[in-house]
Structure formats: C-alpha cells, structure tokens
Symmetry: C2
Subunit: 378 residues, 2 copies
Amino acid sequence: MTKTLAPSDFESYGPKTLDIGQDVAQLTQDLLDIFSVSGEEKCLADAVEQQLTALSHLSVVRNGDSIIARTNWGKSQRVVLAGHLDTVPLPQVEGSLGTVPSRWIEEDGEQILYGRGATDMKGGVAVQLALAATLTDAAYDITYVFYDHEEVASELSGLARLMREHRDLLTDADFAVLLEPTDGTIEGGCNGTMRFWVHCAGKAAHSGRAWVGENAIHKMGDVLTRLATYKPQTYEVEGLAYREGLNAVQIRGGVAGNVIPDAASVHINYRFAPNKTLDEAIAHVEEVFEGYELDFVDQSSAARPGLDAELSRSLIESVGQEPKPKYGWTDVARFSEIGIPAVNFGPGDALLAHTDNEHVSASAIDKCYRALKRWLIA
Amino acid sequence: MTKTLAPSDFESYGPKTLDIGQDVAQLTQDLLDIFSVSGEEKCLADAVEQQLTALSHLSVVRNGDSIIARTNWGKSQRVVLAGHLDTVPLPQVEGSLGTVPSRWIEEDGEQILYGRGATDMKGGVAVQLALAATLTDAAYDITYVFYDHEEVASELSGLARLMREHRDLLTDADFAVLLEPTDGTIEGGCNGTMRFWVHCAGKAAHSGRAWVGENAIHKMGDVLTRLATYKPQTYEVEGLAYREGLNAVQIRGGVAGNVIPDAASVHINYRFAPNKTLDEAIAHVEEVFEGYELDFVDQSSAARPGLDAELSRSLIESVGQEPKPKYGWTDVARFSEIGIPAVNFGPGDALLAHTDNEHVSASAIDKCYRALKRWLIA
C-alpha cells in the first residue's frame, strides 16, 4: 500500500528545542525528528538559530531559512563549514523506515540511525552544530553556514542566495568543507553537469502515405548512434580521476499511430570533469553534436578538487584516508566559483542518499566530528 | 477560440425523416444534417431503416445500428454496395465549416457541399440510398450494407459484427463496391497495416555514475538506424503499384534528468502491399528487426485489388477511368478475407477525409451515382 505522506502523518515530527551540546549522534536523531523537506525548513532553522545565538563566541545572521554564524578570533585564516538543512520528500511507501522520523537499529554490534536525512545530510549538520557548541577557540576562524533549498532547482538555492545577499560574510574564507556524505573520506571537487535537448524536425503525413512526409524519429537515429559510440573519458585533476558521462536521459516523439512524426527530441546530460571550464564543456558537446542545435536547460560548472590548498593538505592528514573524486555535483562548485577551495567531507554513504533506506552509523558521525575537531584545533 | 463541440451545440442537427427518392446531392446534405459520430449512429440508422423498409423490393435486417437490405430478383450474380454511417468527431474549432451540419458554397461555378462527413462518406451513402430507391430491377441482385463504428477501433466495427452475426446475408455475393471516397476513379484493394513496439532494456543508475548503469535509449540507436536505412518497396499487384512504408510513429524513454534510463520503446507502423499475406508481412518485419522481440498491437491484412474479377472489369468500363491502388486500409480487406473481390469507388477526395475542410461537389456525387447505375442495369 502506498500513499503520499504529509508532515501531519507523523505525530512525533514537529518543532523541538535542540540541545547542540549533547552527543553528536544523539543530536543527529533530534535533527531527523524535525521535519524539514525543502521549502519547509523554518522550524529547523528556528531551532538552529536559537541555539547558535545563545553562544557568545559566534555572531549570527539569519537570512530566510539560512543562517551564517562566524567566530571572530582574529586568526590569520578562516574556514567555512557548510551544510544544508533541507531533505528530499519523505518516501511514499507507508511503513518503510524512511517514513518514521528516526529509528536506531543495532546491526552487527553497531548503532545505525535510520530516517529521512540520516545520510543527506543531518549527520553532517549535527557535526557542524556540535563543533559550533564545543569550539571556543581554534587554529582558524570558522564560518558555519546552514542553508535551505539544496535539494530543489538551483535558482531556489539558499547558498546561492547567501552568496548574493551576504557575499562579504563568505568571501573572506580561505577554505571550505561541505559536510555532504562521503563515507569517511575527503571527496575533492565535483564533476560539472549540463542538460540540453536535441530536436529533430520532420514533416507530418498520414502513415499510409509516408512518402509525402519526413520522419523526425528516424532522423534521431544519428543522434543516438553518436551517443552509443561516444567513449566517455576519465581525466586526472590534482591526482584524482574524474570519470565523465554523456547520456540520453529522455526521448520523446510521435503523435498518433497513423501519423509520420514531425518532431522528436532527446534530452542529454553531460557530466564533465573539472579539467574543463563550463565554456570548454559546451564547446565539447557542440563538437560531438555538430550539425544540431543544442537547447540548453541547465549548466553547472565543475569544481577542481582543491587538494593542493594548504588547508586541504592538513585536513587530509587529519582524516588519514586517501581522498577520492566526487562524481555528483555538489555546492563545493559554488565555493569554487567565488574563489574558495572546497572539499566534501561528511558522515554516511552518498549512494544511500534519497533512498527509502537512508541510514548512518553513530560511529561514522562521531569519527567525522573528531577528525574535523582535531584538524581545527591543531 | 476552441472548445469541444457537442451535438447540442447544433440546433439544426437532429433526427429527420429522410427522403431517399430526391436528388442524390440534396440527399447527401440531409444525411450531413443528421449527427452520427461513431457510437451515436442511432438516429441516422433509424431514418435509413425506415426508408428502406418502405421499399417492397428489399428485405431489410437491422443489427445494432447496421442495416442489410437485399433484393431478391433471382439473378445469377450478386453485388454488395457498402458504406459506413458514422463520421469522425466534429472539428473543435468553433466557426470552422466542419462544425456546421452542412453548407453549400458555389466555387468556380460548381456547387460544393461542406460539412462533417461530406467526404467520408455520406456522399457514398447517399449514392447507395438513391440506388436502393430507384432500382427495382438490375443485371445483378444487390445487397446494400450500411454499418456503424468504422472510424474507431477495429473490434467495434459494425461490418465485422455483421460478418459474424449475419454471415449468410453477405457471403453469397460475387463482388463488393465500398463507397469510400476515391475521387471518381476505382481504387483497388488496399495495403495491409500492422503496428508493433520494439522495446530496449537497460539498467537504471544515477547519471553521475553512468558506468554502473546501461543506457536503454542509446541501444535504441540501432533500431532507428535500421528504420532510417530501410528502403520501402513498391509492388505491382494486378497492374497496380502499391507503395509500402515502415515508420516509427512514436518513441519514448527516460524517467528523470539525472537517471540512466532502463527502458526505451519505439512504436512502428508497417504498411504492406497486397502481394503479401499477413504472415509474410510479419516474417518480413521480424527479419528487418532480427534480434529484437516485436510486441504486436494491431494486424490487418492487405486486400488484393480484385480488378481481374469479371464484375470489376465491367465496372471499370462503366467508370471510364484508369484504376488506382488504395494506400490506406479500408473495409475492402474484410470482404477480401471472406472471399469476395472488392474495390473502393465513391465521391470525394480521400485526402480531405477527417479534415476540418471536408467537402464534396454535387457533380462528383451525381457522377458516381450515374456510373454505378449504368453498370448495374447494363
């Protein structure tokens, strides 16, 4: 049995007073228990703001449902710790684990926290909050950023809005860590992504007299053959291998069973390595589809891994794991665009994000918290 | 301004008493003035039945909204004159000529009748009715067939139902003339038609990690290339050239902008010449798409032209025009299937059928009427 679930279906969901001074794994569960699907982050933003405002070592700015909290210790370098407050919608299958606000389950002797946002990314947000509560001094000044609308269209992004409306509170940083799930290692940069349509035109006719028409779907064969024979490349950037992909994600055409179609369209997604600028990536697909007009709907730059930044090297050392490339697009690209090297580092497996089976272990959250704390106070 | 029009929008539409003894062109207009979109043929069938029952030289059988009226003159040969009572729905553009029941317009000195059904095929039905009213003797016995549900799915066909439920009233004929519009000449037989889906399967994955998936749309490239490079043939059957066509009429695939599609499907229509049986046509497309499973949704045999039948030759002579092949599928194929040679011959241009601009000239209706009458009494 499936139905669309609303917040009111969950009696235990609702605004709560947070205690950011408690154990970081337990704090994650409390964050899960505050409903915050994109567009409905207010309760969670209120609770976070209230906690941060109470800390005398932070100056706090609220903007919509985003919050910037900064230390002002006068250090020579400044680090951003950033994470989004929103989650994707709740699973639609009643009774699946993701539909309950949160649940601890012991598996192989480990405490595992299930629920929407467990992986993406309330574990990371809990680490940010626990660090904000604990660190009253560190080797660097810290800018904590909590933002809304990450899981929806780019034009709604809370982080992009902060970069427009409070740019001065962000651009003075030397390095940024985005606490998106990376399963305990550092994932550098991210591939860029763009989407575009290729349209083929024909001439409609009754299919009983096909020769007076021109079949637009048949013409699409050439486009699909270019896609099928395209060999996606892997590029090494700052020691990390970025694997590209060029894929049709949708195709459509045709009006009726007896009509020669006069239009057919294929929607294509290009994921490109950070060895290219956006313009270079556009030039590449224009070459692949020479002779066709590309109708772009979406273009996001890649981000270089930023692993050669001094602060990056010390973070890698503190984490003690081999860094990896990030394939999916993340907000590190936004920091990269304003000139701040940024990496992804947070608890949980990114492959579980958005699934009905989202979960994270208490030990992963704790390990991330300790690695960042060690690095920040070193 | 567009809206969906219903019969009630037309005050002048409604049941009328027909007078089938009047001028055949004027009779056509009266037929247009009785609304008879597929499924709503009852008023027209009632009027036709009432007129035919009044004629002592006919024995009339009503079945649903179909009518069979037979002469019993004891002739050695019997001819079927068949036509459907239904029309496609009314045009949806208010004020277009097709939305008014009927209108005579003089063009270049000719009287032209506009309205839904003018071409397809109330001109032909008027000719049948006028012949039924006039001919009290002829060279052949005549079976007049008027049927419902021709413009909709094959399983609803009134003619197919008559062939199941009153087979004996139809199979004793030697030849059939279907009064579908052929613009004054005889169109022999018809191409067959079949529709089938070709499905390609893949494996879903996030498009940021395309290499763990398998793109079903890319695989479709091979199918489209086979279609694009396919050379449709023309076959001569009994002196008429039948042009074939193999065409994609719909394509679909993909679920979201960031998902590697695990399924893609193309819907294909094959129009094949009457030099092939249905089985031979199936074998042909199975060869073209070797390696793929074909998911058939629709299969209709072709009909040989029937021009070598003795009655056909005398009709050709009476019409005095070079016969042509019929490309579109028509009910001649149903007569052909039960062993009765059949041709299409009726007033109006088939290319106008189903358009908002449907029309037929008074002279074309009259010419068809006189050619058939001349042939029947010869």
